[in-house]
């Protein structure tokens, strides 16, 4: 956040259910706004060019890579990060499935992965395995090999049983 600080613009948006107003520089990314100005740290920076998906958040219910969106663009929007999907301080069913199935290891990709999967399930209640794979293909994970993540999403959708795996014929 350099020179642009001199020409900041005030944006107003809803962040995780709360109305926020913040001054942002014109060139700063939403990821920077969230992390550096607002202290919302769950979106991570893994590549800063939209390749890895670890900065995924939702704008008006659609997942975006917050390193590819400018902070000024969310003026008037509803932004949701991982911090906003807990339900009364409890894990969402998807988070619980991630916990039950070890669908994370180092945990760095987990916030972005859960955001993408949350959007996926909101748009497609009963996805197939292939649809889950397609839906999560923009979120990189180097630890798990993805299978436990895919299974957690399918379990949350009720496509596979708790602890079970999808049978392929």
């Amino acid at each position: 956040m350099g020179d642009g600080d001199r020409v900041k613009k005030t944006i107003r948006f809803v962040l995780n259910g709360e109305k926020r107003a913040v001054d942002v520089a014109p060139q700063e990314t939403l990821l920077e706004t969230l992390r550096e100005r607002l202290g919302v740290k769950s979106p991570k920076c893994g590549c800063d060019r939209g390749d890895c998906g670890t900065c995924t958040v939702m704008i008006d219910g659609r997942s975006v890579r917050s390193c590819l969106v400018l902070g000024v663009e969310v003026d008037g929007a509803v932004v949701t990060t991982l911090e906003g999907i807990m339900e009364n301080g409890e894990l969402s069913p998807l988070q619980q499935a991630f916990l039950d199935r070890n669908s994370f290891q180092c945990g760095f990709c987990a916030p972005g992965m859960i955001m993408s999967a949350t959007e996926l399930l909101a748009r497609n209640e009963k996805p197939t395995r292939e649809e889950v794979q397609e839906g999560l293909a923009g979120n990189l994970c180097r630890c798990t090999g993805y299978s436990p993540i895919i299974d957690a999403v399918l379990e949350t959708a009720g496509v596979v049983s708790k602890g079970g795996s999808d049978e392929r014929s």
Partner: protein, 778 residues
């Protein structure tokens, strides 16, 4: 061994909620307030050059710039196993991307802008970019001072050459072994360089405060080793180890890349130049590719002597490692691979030269598998070819020659308990070995591949682990260790071990990542040794606490000590069925006597483990005489693939991995290692490799051009098989396993392609393009 309450159970991860809610803080998430400074590094654009002049006057003039630092400030060599590198380049740069100077500024943007104004004049030298050139008679020396470098006693650098280390293994009489053979088969295999690709890049923040105390927060696999290297490298500034502190928050993937000291030294060193202010160095994805450690490339020339019945009589392996510009860590990869380059086979006559070669490419270093993936690609491919030429089934060939418990290892020691044969049989059965499937689609060829694997921890012989264990008022406890949770589930397994000894459920045990000031010593989280080493230390700490508990209860309450045992968070007695004293009643406050005085007090356990039987000293000409490896974990793996004959594209219906890592402490976590490791390994053979141009510049330092797997690239089915021949000196019988699961991936693919198409591909990666071209040319 049955009757365990927590060991062998798929206990839920103790770090799960933190990681799934965003509560887990990674190094970039830590806040340092408005005083935080940011450093941007000026890097060499040349693979080899002499630095003539650095002019940073203009950069210093920019508002917000605090300092410009060059190699002049830190003229000291350092390194893990060999002191061959500097904080910043001195008179020469030796790879593209090497750090030459740093601009420290109030904001990242100002630092970046000012860095562009630093002018460095170079005299460009012709770089040495491959091992063949580096080994030529009149090759340009990359380290003319090599003969003077300080190094561990088990390295053998060749001065006035580019050979930084040569590990020779001579077992039996190879010449005699080849004479006894009915056939001798030669071949050469090549493996390129690879990147770890942790999703979190490296980052470190250093603070040298006004009391001259240096604290470094780092994404780290090696907090204590980093503290030691910082103290050692910066000793001329008068720093003692007690003044240096490393704090390691959650780390976003390691795979070896965050072991040792790479860019972290910059934060430590730069902090000393701006006393009183924290300074942050954070690698971009691009820097993550070219200036941390890379997995080294290797050219493997091998020769195998066999009898007509398939018995291997002799093996010669010549491994030429492209170790890069600095080998302070990578030379030990070369060393470890050399000691074990026979693979898990019973071979009476072995001749191995593992050669660590300096080149003007980025520094090589540790990567999950530590050299074993690299040499096993060639060896396991070659053994398949040998079996085929002899008309012997490749699984039968392996079974016949597989190493067994008690067999003599390459350096003379005895093989530890090993269920390799059982792994071979179970894996072969699971993949339906011997049954050929034919696709309905004429474009698709189906094939199966098989390979064995092994690996030992590569550690100094005295690599140690320690643990403190503290009880709390409610009978819950905190365990302090300094090994790192890098995703594998280490914290959970440590909780399970203490839980088993103390009969306290894992959910009442907190284990977190370390601060070297508070947590006791650990060498490093590498080598797949911490379940074993740190696990032993935690078990000892728990036993120490238990013994204190029994002492207090027997002396204060007169219960016979030998009758006491722990059950369900209580002390109970075999001789007094009615006795049950909850731990929470006394583990902090002690036991009240009739007169109102107390006995006992807070229970604190300590545990230490060092493998006192290991030794790295051996005959440099043969490697005979020492005991460099504490144990080998072995296994077998098989795959079924479908190859599209037109595009070369491979799909994987099924892959199987069977491993004997002794007692399985947490089956779900182990399964996670198999699935994740296998996919990472498959990526090295199917998609990834580092590409350099003729000037030593990395062409693909990003995820667009260096493709790691996505959710679309998972095999349809990954089957894990666990065989449990317990390790006598492991906690509850466990051995290491973290790295092993990616090791067989490359040869099973190469062998399956050969099975499907009759084409042998001898260089990695084996991309769809390479297969399609090979089909066209066949």
């Amino acid at each position: 061994m049955s009757g365990h309450k927590f060991i062998g159970k798929s206990v839920v991860r103790v770090d799960g909620k933190a990681k799934l809610t965003g509560a887990a803080a990674f190094v970039d998430d830590l806040e340092f307030g408005p005083g935080l400074l940011h450093a941007v590094i000026i890097e060499s654009p040349h693979a080899y050059a002499k630095i003539k002049k650095i002019d940073f006057a203009k950069a210093l003039g920019v508002e917000g710039v605090v300092k410009v630092v060059t190699g002049k400030e830190f003229p000291y060599r350092f390194g893990l196993y060999m002191h061959d590198r500097y904080v910043f380049a001195q008179d020469h740069v030796r790879f593209v991307g090497e750090q030459v100077a740093a601009v420290i500024a109030r904001t990242p943007a100002v630092a970046k802008e000012a860095a562009r104004l630093v002018k460095v004049e170079y005299e460009v030298l012709k770089p040495v970019l491959d091992v063949e050139t580096a080994l030529e008679e009149d090759a340009r020396l990359i380290h003319p001072e090599l003969g003077n470098y300080h190094h561990v006693p088990w390295f053998f650098p060749k001065k006035d050459t580019n050979i930084a280390h040569l590990r020779k293994v001579r077992k039996g009489d190879a010449e005699q072994g080849f004479r006894e053979a009915d056939h001798v088969f030669d071949d050469t295999y090549m493996v390129p360089r690879y990147a770890h690709c942790s999703i979190e890049t490296h980052g470190a923040i250093g603070l040298f405060d006004h009391s001259r105390r240096l604290t470094v927060w780092a994404a780290s696999q090696s907090p204590h080793t980093q503290r030691h290297l910082f103290a050692e490298a910066l000793a001329p500034l008068g720093l003692k180890h007690k003044d240096v502190r490393v704090i390691a928050p959650s780390v976003g993937g390691g795979f070896g890349g965050k072991a040792g000291v790479s860019m972290e030294i910059l934060a430590a060193a730069l902090a000393t130049t701006v006393q009183g202010s924290p300074v942050k160095v954070h690698w971009t994805r691009e820097q993550e590719f070219y200036n941390t450690y890379q997995r080294q490339g290797v050219v493997a020339k091998m020769r195998v002597g066999v009898k007509n019945d398939g018995t291997i009589t002799a093996l010669e392996q010549k491994l030429y490692w492209d170790a890069g510009a600095y080998v302070e860590y990578g030379a030990n990869v070369v060393n470890a691979a050399g000691l074990s380059a026979s693979g898990p086979y019973r071979i009476p006559n072995v001749h191995i030269d593992s050669v660590c070669v300096y080149t003007n490419l980025p520094p090589g270093g540790p990567y999950r598998g530590f050299g074993y993936s690299e040499f096993l690609f060639g060896l396991e491919s070659h053994f398949n070819e040998v079996a085929k030429k002899l008309g012997i089934d490749p699984v039968e060939f392996r079974r016949k020659n597989a190493i067994c418990t008690g067999d003599v290892l390459n350096y003379g020691g005895k093989m530890n308990p090993s269920g390799l044969l059982e792994c071979i049989d179970k894996v072969a059965r699971e993949i339906d070995w011997g049954k050929r499937r034919v696709s309905d689609d004429p474009r698709k060829a189906i094939g199966k591949g098989f390979a064995l694997f092994w690996k030992a921890p590569a550690m100094p012989p005295n690599a140690s682990s320690t643990a403190f264990l503290k009880f709390n008022e409610d009978g819950s406890l905190n365990i302090l260790v300094s090994a790192m949770e890098i995703g594998q589930g280490f914290l959970t397994v440590m909780a399970q071990i203490a839980a088993e000894v103390l009969s306290v459920p894992p959910e009442k045990i907190r284990v977190e990542t370390p601060d070297t000031d508070r947590n006791p010593y650990e060498w490093q989280t590498v080598a797949s040794h911490i379940t074993w080493g740190t696990g032993n230390a935690v078990k000892k700490a728990a036993i120490d606490a238990r013994e204190q508990i029994f002492d207090i209860v027997s002396s204060a309450l007169g219960q016979p000590r030998e009758s006491l045992y722990l059950d369900d968070e209580q002390v109970r007695s075999r001789s007094d069925a009615g006795f049950g004293l909850p731990l929470r009643d006394f583990v902090i406050n002690g036991i009240m006597m009739k007169d109102g005085t107390f006995r006992g007090g807070p229970i604190i356990g300590r545990g230490m483990f060092m493998p006192e039987f290991a030794s790295a000293l051996s005959d440099p000409e043969t490697s005979q005489g020492g005991k460099p490896n504490v144990h080998y974990t072995v296994g077998a793996s098989a795959i079924e693939i479908e190859v599209d004959r037109e595009t070369g594209r491979i799909t994987i219906p099924k892959v199987v991995l069977g491993v004997d890592c002794g007692k399985v402490l947490n089956p779900d976590l182990l399964k996670g290692q198999v699935t994740g490791g296998m996919v990472q390994g498959l990526a090295t053979v199917l998609y990834e490799d580092m590409r350099f141009d003729g000037k030593g510049r990395l062409l693909n330092p990003n995820f667009t051009d260096y493709k790691i797997p996505t959710a679309l690239d998972t095999p349809e089915e990954i089957v894990s098989i666990f065989v449990e021949h317990e390790q006598p000196d492991g906690p509850f019988g466990a051995r290491g396993v973290g790295e092993h699961t990616m090791i067989p991936a490359a040869p099973i693919i190469a062998n399956a392609i050969e099975d499907a198409l009759g084409i042998r591909i001898r260089s990695m990666p084996i991309t769809a393009e390479k297969i399609a071209l090979a089909i066209r040319d066949s």
